[in-house]
Structures are given as structure tokens and as C-alpha cells.
Symmetry: C2
Subunit: 215 residues, 2 copies
């Protein structure tokens, strides 16, 4: 049975899509319209009780939380497609560390930025200028640490592309292409080279081509 | 060489301590005083460039981010102490899912609560009443989902204690014992039974006894 991915037009589900393509796993997608509130309908809440995308179904196995899903597939298909977890326990530890950095340092200010710069105006809600300014400052500091790291190592967890890098693609795309903040990346030589590298992978280009962003 | 853990008196490092005790791994601790800003000093930033605790050193291997560290030790010492990752790929996927739920649904409102109810007054900073109210509401909704889940399953990822449960201990302790919100747990029968179970593990009691909370 083919893997099903719910919510392909949004950011976090794209984390799953690019992983599935890297791992050469066949899948199909099911649209969920967040603007119509479909993620809060009873049928959807049976799959994901917190009302978020993505969810996947792999046969009769259901899983949610994008960073859990990508770990699951990377492990289940360890020997198929791109190796994304690292080869040793130590490499794997660093992949986990940078996955957590993405989730706790990179994502939160960027999410706030995307909500206030892109989504709020679309939904007729006010943008919070203070949140925007604080998010910009936080992101600059985070990217300064990335610059230092990437001056010593081609990818975040070491000299190999991994889930840690992959996990930055969906919201990195917002940062560079849809919030007018591409300069935050371009001004940092090693971050810029890293972003060029990972965003030009054929897996990510395929995601962008097949599953347009809802916004 | 014995594992070193930095910052044992704070919440997130306690996630690591309880894991090390469950896995029967020998360790020592290094104090870091956040109130004196020791986490922002150059020596510390060499270990953890974002200036957060915990960090661990395992021989010459350094790792940060508590949820990455616990995964690393659970995997490195798979056959020693309590099995914390699940036995099959599917069980492991659910452990990952609930670790992510802890990180993204449970922790953020609880962290805001702890900061505003406990830390702000201590540091002479104002508490944000609006944040407190919103955090309370978010936590109630999250715990409603937990109640439903735990009415079908003894622990979060299934009928076995795992990293997913363990990860709730340090801030669950704040919730129940230091923010005056124990009722949020006690009013939910299955959440209450689960909390009683995990917070009475000898590993956690040992952490509380040996490494008092700074606040």
C-alpha cells in the first residue's frame, strides 16, 4: 500500500515529502485546506488530535509530527535512497542535535515571521510589528551560529547531507523567497553556500514543482 | 571516562539526568549559574554556541539539546538499563511522535507559564498576565488530548515507559508542584495515574533528591 501524506501544500508536510523523495518511497497526497478549517473537523482530528498537518498513513500505521515522520522513514528504509541519519552513533547524535536546533532555534522565530508577514495580512488579521522585529533579531543571531558551524563543516551534522539539513528546507524557502529576507542568508558566505547546495537538490526542486505552497 | 552533564539544577538538564540513571550510565555534573549569566560566557559558548543548558561531554564527544542527548544515550546503551526507544520501528515512530508532542505542544505553554509565574518575579521582571491566561488554556487543551490517549494506552507511545514519558518529567514537576496548577493533572483521571506512575520512578526520585531545582 502506498504511503499517504496529508496537507502537501503547507510547510511542515513538505519536510515529509522531500524526505520520501530522497528515500525513493512511493506516496500519494491528500489535500487539507487550513484556510477552510479542515484540520479542525472531526474526521481529521481522529488522525491528528491536535489538528495540525502533516499526518501520514503507511498501511494501517498512522503517524504525525513531521520530524517524527522523517525519522521513522529514514530508519525504516535505512538502506534505500539517500542515507539521512549518519553512519555511527556519534554522527547520528549530531544529526539529532541539529534537528533539535532547527526545531527550537531556527523554526520558532521564522514561524512567527511567516505568520505575521505572510499569513496575517491574507487572513485580514493585524501583523504584530514588535514580534516581527524580535524575530528578525533572533534569526540573525541563530544564523551567525550557523555561519560559524558551516565554516567548519559542509553540512550541519558533518560532511554529509542529513535529516538536519533537509528539515530546514520548507521554512528556509519562506525565509529566502517569500518574506523579503533573502539577505539574511546571502550576507553569510557559508550559510549561503549551504542553502544553495541543499535547495538545489533534485528532491526539493521536485517538491516545489509538484506541490505549490498554499501561500 | 565518566560522562559530564552541565547545568544539573535546571529543568532541561534533568531530562538528561533521569535518562542517564535509567540507562545506568555513570556521570558527574558541572554547575552553570544562569542567574549569574555563566551560560553566556565565552568558555561556555565554545561548548554550546546558543548559550543554553544542558551540554554533555562523553569523552571528547560534545553534544547539546536535551532531547538529542537522551536519544543518543538511549541508542548507544540500547542493551543496558531500561529500554527507552521501543522495540520495533513502529513503536519507535510513536516514541518519536510523542517526544515531538512534548516538545511542541506540552513544553511551550508550560515554559511560558514557568517563566511568568516563577522566574519573572524572582528576577524583578513583570509577569505577563495575558501570556499566563493563554498558556493555561493551551495546556488544558493539550492535556485533554493526553487524557484521551492515556485512556487507551498505559504510556504515551504504548504499553511501555519510554523517552516520550521521561521527557515530560522536568517540566511536569513544575506544573504539578511549583506553579499551583496540580489540578490540571489531578482533574484528569488517566493523566493523573500516568503522572503518579512516572514521577514515582526511582530514577526521578533520585534526580529530585540529588539535584535540587535552582527555582
Amino acid at each position: 500500500m502506498v504511503v499517504k501524506v496529508y496537507g502537501p501544500t503547507y510547510g511542515c508536510p513538505k519536510r515529509v515529502l522531500v524526505c520520501l523523495i530522497e528515500k525513493e518511497i512511493e506516496f500519494e497526497t491528500v489535500d487539507v485546506d487550513l484556510f477552510k478549517g479542515e484540520h479542525k473537523e472531526p474526521e481529521f482530528l481522529k488522525l491528528q488530535p491536535f489538528g495540525s498537518v502533516p499526518v501520514i498513513q503507511d498501511g494501517d500505521y498512522t503517524l504525525y509530527e513531521s520530524r517524527a515522520i522523517i525519522r521513522y522513514f529514514a530508519e525504516k528504509y535505512k538502506d534505500q535512497g539517500t542515507e539521512l541519519l549518519g553512519k555511527t552513533i556519534e554522527e547520528k547524535g549530531l544529526v539529532e542535535q541539529w534537528l533539535e536546533v532547527e526545531a527550537h532555534n531556527f523554526h520558532p522565530p521564522l514561524y512567527d515571521l511567516v505568520m505575521n508577514v505572510l499569513f496575517a495580512p491574507l487572513m485580514g488579521a493585524p501583523s504584530d510589528q514588535k514580534v516581527i522585529e524580535e524575530s528578525d533579531k533572533k534569526l540573525e543571531k541563530v544564523l551567525d551560529v550557523y555561519e560559524e558551524r558551516l565554516s567548519n563543516s559542509k553540512y550541519l551534522a558533518g560532511d554529509f547531507f542529513s535529516l538536519a539539513d533537509l528539515s530546514h528546507l520548507p521554512f528556509g524557502h519562506y525565509l529566502v523567497n517569500q518574506t523579503g529576507r533573502g539577505n539574511l542568508v546571502r550576507e553569510r558566505k557559508h550559510v549561503n553556500a549551504w542553502w544553495d547546495d541543499i535547495s538545489n537538490r533534485s528532491s526539493w526542486k521536485k517538491v516545489l514543482q509538484l506541490y505549490k505552497y498554499a501561500v
